[in-house]
């Protein structure tokens, strides 16, 4: 192949491609495939003033906020999907601890449309969603206008172009062409909306594997700046076909981060004292890993691309 390999470690990828002050799309797939390993590396490398973008975000946003990396959140929902609130988020918004953050509230649809607008290369997209809501009143990126074709009221959702999208996938080649399946959420648009993409993959495969099923290629390599081979990089969130959701981990996080001091202990234990994903997996322990591993495979029926 004439293209150059984009393979690098998570440490390198974050070092090279994410600066303090960047806008970062994370958790585009909702409750699946959240790039926790990448988020933890952002924390370890001490990024500051990040703007986080994502639909529901789950506890990765909460951790980044608690670690002081974030000055702004643009999201539809920030919390813990199975356990409820995110305490760090609440502390930051209500009390400015560890630092104040600005929250720009979207709904899921308006967040999806903001990224879709950027992916389509237009300044906005129209919707009826949020009419009559306080999201429309408070979020400056949502603006009521009259339809030019029907005189109806509509909301213009301004396009949102993240500096970087960090997207977890099942398999990719070294050039960033990536297969992704299961929960898609806003990931396809996210990859195209962003100025740069970091692909975090469970497996590196030959380009011929990707080319065997071009309809499953949801991220073309020319959009990708870095490819990180990081198995279990999404734990405690699940990756379809690779590992399940560690529900208990989310519950424990909820219990162990209620108070600021407790969160700091959690942060040290699971992120700061851990150099990388390998060590993290050791802390998780083999029996937990075993419990989350795929028990029963369910392979897709092949599609024939022959002629």
């Amino acid at each position: 192949m004439s293209a150059e390999s984009k393979l690098m470690t998570m440490q390198e990828a974050i070092e090279r491609h994410v600066r303090s002050g960047s806008t970062v799309l994370l958790g585009a797939e909702l409750e699946q495939m959240i790039p926790f390993a990448a988020g933890h590396e952002l924390i370890r490398q001490g990024r500051r003033d990040l703007t986080l973008i994502g639909p529901i975000s789950d506890i990765l946003f909460d951790q980044l906020i608690g670690a002081g990396c974030v000055s702004r959140v643009m999201a539809a929902w920030v919390g813990n999907a199975s356990a409820g609130l995110g305490y760090c988020f609440r502390r930051a918004v209500e009390s400015g601890i560890p630092r104040p953050i600005d929250v720009v509230d979207y709904s899921n649809l308006t967040m999806a449309l903001a990224l879709h607008a950027a992916a389509l290369g237009v300044p906005f997209l129209p919707t009826y969603a949020t009419l009559g809501s306080d999201l429309l009143k408070k979020n400056g990126n949502l603006r009521e206008f009259r339809s030019p074709v029907s005189e109806e009221k509509l909301v213009a959702v301004r396009s949102l172009r993240p500096d970087i999208a960090i997207l977890q996938v099942q398999r990719a080649d070294a050039f960033g062409n990536a297969h992704k399946w299961g929960s898609l959420g806003v990931a396809v648009d996210g990859a195209r909306a962003a100025r740069k993409v970091i692909v975090v993959t469970e497996e590196i495969v030959e380009p011929s594997v990707i080319a065997s099923d071009p309809n499953r290629t949801l991220i073309p390599g020319f959009l990708v700046a870095a490819v990180v081979n990081e198995p279990w990089g999404a734990h405690p969130s699940p990756v379809q076909g690779y590992y399940g959701r560690d529900h208990a981990f989310f519950a424990e996080y909820h219990e162990q981060t209620r108070k600021l001091g407790d969160f700091e202990g959690w942060l040290a234990r699971w992120i700061l004292e851990v150099p990388g994903r390998r060590e993290y997996m050791k802390r998780l322990g083999p029996s937990r890993i075993e419990r989350l591993s795929v028990r029963e495979h369910a392979f897709s029926r092949p599609a024939d691309f022959g002629y």
């Binding site: 999806a112 009826y128 809501s133 306080d134 299961g182 898609l184 959420g185």
Partner: protein, 282 residues
């Protein structure tokens, strides 16, 4: 088995609860959460497209699908469309069990497009606060007079704006059912009759039922909520005392029909540890 009692951990797992399916349980033994799930399930008619969301409504859909609405179809915001029930309890819509064997896994906009087209018959929502006109707040709650930041809309605002009907589930107390919400995350009937159309929201859309821990509220043509059904053992006075405005009461107030043995069996098959139905506040 007492529904309030948690079954031993050994009793959990993918198929170990299948036996329950066949059992006919005594109807009286159910938790408030189970009653709410059942009442929510009954809001789904057969063949309908349902925007399911998280928590109790995930169970409600499963109950409906397995009892009176076998052709109903579930839509999830992650892009998933599902016609058959998943094989195990779900903690989130993104659990691998919810995607494996799904009818379609698409993008969020694929399902949101169906919602905005007006094809979705009913959407389910939770709420921290609900007011007299069915407006919901999940962004800024008030506790002990102080504003507390809540997680936000997720897809709730979209569903409230665009589904033909919305069904709300929440705990019934004065702080949650209030005269006027502090922040309209998800619009109901706004300030009453005609308000939704004036905002530009689709004709005929809006909240259809509010299922609380005490009863079921519905809405008059003026957009104001009224008490339509009381849960067994609950009095009108109790409801009024726990509602933050002077709630109207239906002339023909009925009693909420308790879960049947079959309905309870489905709930317990998918929530064997009462993760969702133990308390009603998750």
């Amino acid at each position: 088995m007492n529904a309030r009692q948690r079954p031993p951990a050994e009793f959990a797992g993918r198929s170990s609860c299948r036996a329950l399916w066949e059992m006919t349980l005594p109807v009286a033994l159910y938790s408030p959460g189970e009653l709410m799930v059942t009442a929510a399930a009954r809001e789904i008619a057969d063949g309908e497209l349902v925007f399911v969301g998280m928590r109790l409504p995930m169970l409600a859909f499963l109950v409906a699908r397995r009892t009176h609405a076998p052709r109903s179809i579930a839509l999830y915001e992650n892009g998933t469309i599902r016609q058959t029930p998943s094989t195990e309890m779900l903690y989130t819509m993104g659990d691998p069990a919810n995607l494996c064997g799904a009818t379609q896994c698409g993008q969020m906009l694929d399902v949101m497009g169906l919602l905005q087209q007006g094809r979705v018959d009913v959407g389910f929502l939770g709420a921290a606060e609900l007011d007299r006109f069915g407006n919901l707040n999940t962004t800024w709650g008030r506790r002990d007079g102080e504003l507390r930041r809540l997680p936000g809309s997720g897809g709730a605002c979209d569903i409230a704006c665009l589904a033909r009907r919305t069904v709300v589930l929440l705990v019934h107390d004065r702080s949650r059912l209030c005269e006027r919400v502090d922040y309209v995350t998800s619009p109901g009937y706004g300030t009453g009759n005609g308000w939704r159309r004036a905002q530009g929201l689709p004709e005929g859309s809006g909240p259809s039922a509010v299922i609380t821990t005490l009863g079921v509220l519905r809405f008059g043509s003026d957009g104001e909520a009224y008490l339509a059904s009381l849960h067994p053992g609950v009095s009108v006075e109790q409801v009024l005392a726990n509602t933050g405005w002077t709630l109207r009461v239906a002339d023909e107030l009925v009693e909420t029909i308790p879960p049947s043995g079959q309905e309870l069996a489905v709930i317990r098959e998918f929530d064997p540890h009462h993760f969702w139905t133990r308390s009603d506040e998750r």
